[in-house]
């Protein structure tokens, strides 16, 4: 994977050469393999791929969060081109999380403590990061955030999690993520477990907050259709590798990487010709013994001999549109 060594000035978060491995029963699993990624200031970047492609592992690693059986083997994560998150001392790392970068985990609705009221969740979160602030001030801030997500704050703040619907919980959690005014918000599958109607509503609300505050967001999902609505740029991962990164319209209307192309063809829709929808070819390879060369070559309709031997680097095919595929190997530059 190769993005320019020099960090572009508009990048808020830059990942360079990140490798994350896990010890599993059958050996070592490389969940993220030498990945580069830039998240530009003030954008919504969508990160997509099938489950097991490493998208969540990558996003969590940005906050230096890795499950106990895993470790960050190598790489750098730079905040504003300077601070290396991975070498921050514990205290500063703690401040970086929530204050600079917050995350809303997958299935976050279940992350609420069942015996705590919403107001206690907000107080708890705030006070564990800033001890000085008074309760009144925190609660008034909390209620304005909750109102921003179009919930009745006077009611919601008094509620226990079991009294709220899935959509209410998801919105409460989103408000909690915004509590400490982070510069950067990671949303890991925030809408996947919700109904289409609630999903649409939350996407619109998040989009509205983004437009109003310019908050930088990384939106992770396995469902590309939701990214069409919220993302400005899209990054596609496959088996631990970044395969394509570009503007949302470029990715949807003229996808370059064969994997992006088949991924988009596999989406059902209420519009268009049913015969244009095609299932993904072949099975997902074993992530512990991934294929050599380009990891997609066994399933790729355009595979060439070189694809079995050499792993393609991300290449700029013009206008910060990056593709890791031998089909576009020498084309750019």
């Amino acid at each position: 994977m190769k993005l320019p060594e020099r960090i572009p000035p508009e990048a808020l978060i830059s990942v360079r050469g990140l490798t994350v491995e896990f010890r599993v029963a059958r050996g070592i699993l490389t969940a993220v393999d030498n990945v580069d990624l830039d998240v530009y200031r003030g954008e919504v970047l969508g990160l997509a791929g099938e489950s097991g492609c490493g998208k969540s592992v990558l996003a969590h690693a940005i906050l230096k969060l890795v499950d106990p059986n895993g470790y960050i083997k190598s790489g750098k994560i730079l905040f504003r081109g300077k601070t290396d998150v991975l070498s921050l001392p514990e205290g500063e790392l703690r401040r970086f999380r929530w204050r600079n970068a917050a995350i809303i985990f997958q299935g976050a609705q279940n992350a609420l403590n069942p015996v705590m009221r919403t107001s206690e969740h907000f107080l708890d979160t705030f006070l564990s990061h800033e001890k000085e602030t008074g309760k009144e001030k925190i609660l008034s801030k909390s209620s304005s955030l909750i109102e921003k997500l179009r919930l009745d704050s006077s009611r919601v703040l008094k509620m226990f999690p079991h009294e709220m619907s899935g959509g209410m919980k998801q919105r409460t959690i989103s408000a909690l993520g915004l509590l400490l005014d982070p510069d950067f918000l990671i949303l890991d599958e925030p809408t996947s477990s919700l109904d289409v109607l609630t999903q649409k509503y939350i996407l619109k609300l998040l989009r509205g907050i983004h437009e109003e505050t310019g908050l930088t967001m990384l939106f992770i999902t396995h469902d590309l259709a939701t990214l069409a609505e919220i993302a400005e740029r899209i990054a596609i991962m496959y088996l631990g590798n970044m395969v394509e990164m570009g503007d949302v319209d470029e990715i949807f209307y003229e996808p370059k990487h064969p994997y992006t192309q088949v991924l988009l063809k596999a989406l059902p829709s209420i519009k268009g010709d049913l015969d244009d929808i095609k299932p993904l070819p072949g099975p997902v390879p074993d992530p512990i013994n991934p294929p050599p060369g380009c990891r997609f070559h066994p399933r790729c309709p355009h595979a060439m001999p070189i694809c079995q031997e050499t792993k393609p680097d991300l290449t700029d095919v013009g206008g910060k549109w990056f593709v890791a595929c031998h089909l576009y190997g020498g084309e750019a530059k």
């Binding site: 099938e50 899935g166 289409v196 109607l197 649409k200 396995h222 259709a225 299932p279």
Partner: protein, 329 residues
């Protein structure tokens, strides 16, 4: 479709008791109310609705797992709740289910063979151990899990979600049912995997001539499943619209159907960005314990008037083969 239906629901309702005590009267939840539906041999039918609309309860009723409080279900013209034991057992063999959560549907302590064999033996599909082993292999081959010998020995923890769902499908078809209920069978899977599983279901449906009721909250996948067939839309226990899915998608009549269609994600950035939120009067779904009187949708409906608040709309044929329960049509 002039043959008699394979399965028929006549004014089916299901009430659940909630609360209540020694001196307190219980309240009732009408999970399903006055639903009539016909399913024909070999038909693919999609039932679309939000969570909590009663579509899963309706599924349980169709399978004979829950007895409806009112109304009748007929299988090949015969009411299933007045059948004798052997007839009922035969019906149950013919009506199988694929659950939403493949991780929950398989016993983690049993190998795949251990999950497939009991059904084969119980319904006397296989007479000996050797025969059931052979049949289990053939079934796995049929659902695209090969080499089958390798999979038969495995435990569910060694399978991916998609593979588990294939095993669940293999188990459902193992007893040669004439009807399959797929209850949100692909919604837990990766978006990119869903149509692989739907394709599998469709090919088996054709091969084995099964009718299939596909319950989903996503019109996109429902359309992919039903193709040119029929679909129904459910809201708070009522079926509010039934017809050919292309008619419903192109010319929805019920305001709730319009809403559901408008919020279905479209994989096209220009369309998606310009989409608006539906003109609903309220986002929250009313409680099932005290549903609104009249048309249950009237509290959220942008077009509702006094009639809607008072009178329950009947499901009537508004266009050929297109039924709607709405006063405004």
């Amino acid at each position: 479709m002039k043959n008699p239906p394979l399965l028929e629901l006549n004014n089916v309702s299901k009430l659940f008791e909630v609360g209540g005590g020694l001196f307190r009267k219980p309240s009732y939840i009408k999970a399903v109310e006055n639903v009539s539906l016909q399913l024909y041999e070999g038909e693919a039918f999609s039932l679309v609705g939000e969570s909590g609309c009663g579509k899963s309860t309706l599924g349980r009723i169709v399978l004979g797992l829950t007895e409806p409080t009112y109304g009748q279900i007929l299988y090949k013209g015969k009411s299933i709740w007045t059948m004798n034991r052997s007839e009922f057992a035969e019906f149950r063999r013919n009506a199988q289910i694929i659950h939403q959560d493949p991780y929950d549907a398989l016993n983690p302590m049993r190998t795949i063979y251990g999950s497939l064999a009991p059904a084969l033996r119980r319904h006397r599909m296989a007479r000996s151990g050797r025969e059931s082993r052979k049949m289990a292999s053939e079934l796995l081959e049929l659902v695209g899990l090969s080499p089958p010998e390798d999979f038969l020995k495995r435990y569910p923890s060694r399978l991916s979600g998609g593979q588990m769902q294939r095993v669940a499908i293999a188990r459902a078809i193992s007893v040669q049912p004439s009807f399959i209920l797929a209850d949100e069978a692909v919604s837990m899977l990766d978006a990119s995997l869903r149509i692989n599983i739907v394709d599998l279901l469709l090919s088996l449906k054709d091969k084995l001539n099964m009718a299939c009721l596909f319950i989903t909250h996503d019109f996109g996948i429902g359309r992919y499943f039903t193709r040119a067939g029929r679909a129904g839309v459910m809201y708070l226990g009522n079926v509010v619209e039934v017809g050919k899915i292309e008619d419903i998608l192109n010319q929805p009549i019920h305001p709730y159907t319009e809403v559901l269609i408008s919020v279905t994600p479209v994989p096209d950035p220009k369309v998606a960005r310009s989409s608006e939120l539906p003109p609903l009067r309220s986002l929250e779904v009313p409680s099932l314990i005290n549903p609104p009187p009249g048309c249950k949708f009237h509290t959220r409906c942008p077009y509702a008037d006094e009639t809607c608040a008072e009178k329950v709309p009947e499901l009537v044929e508004v266009r050929p083969d297109h039924f709607v329960a709405c006063h405004r049509r």
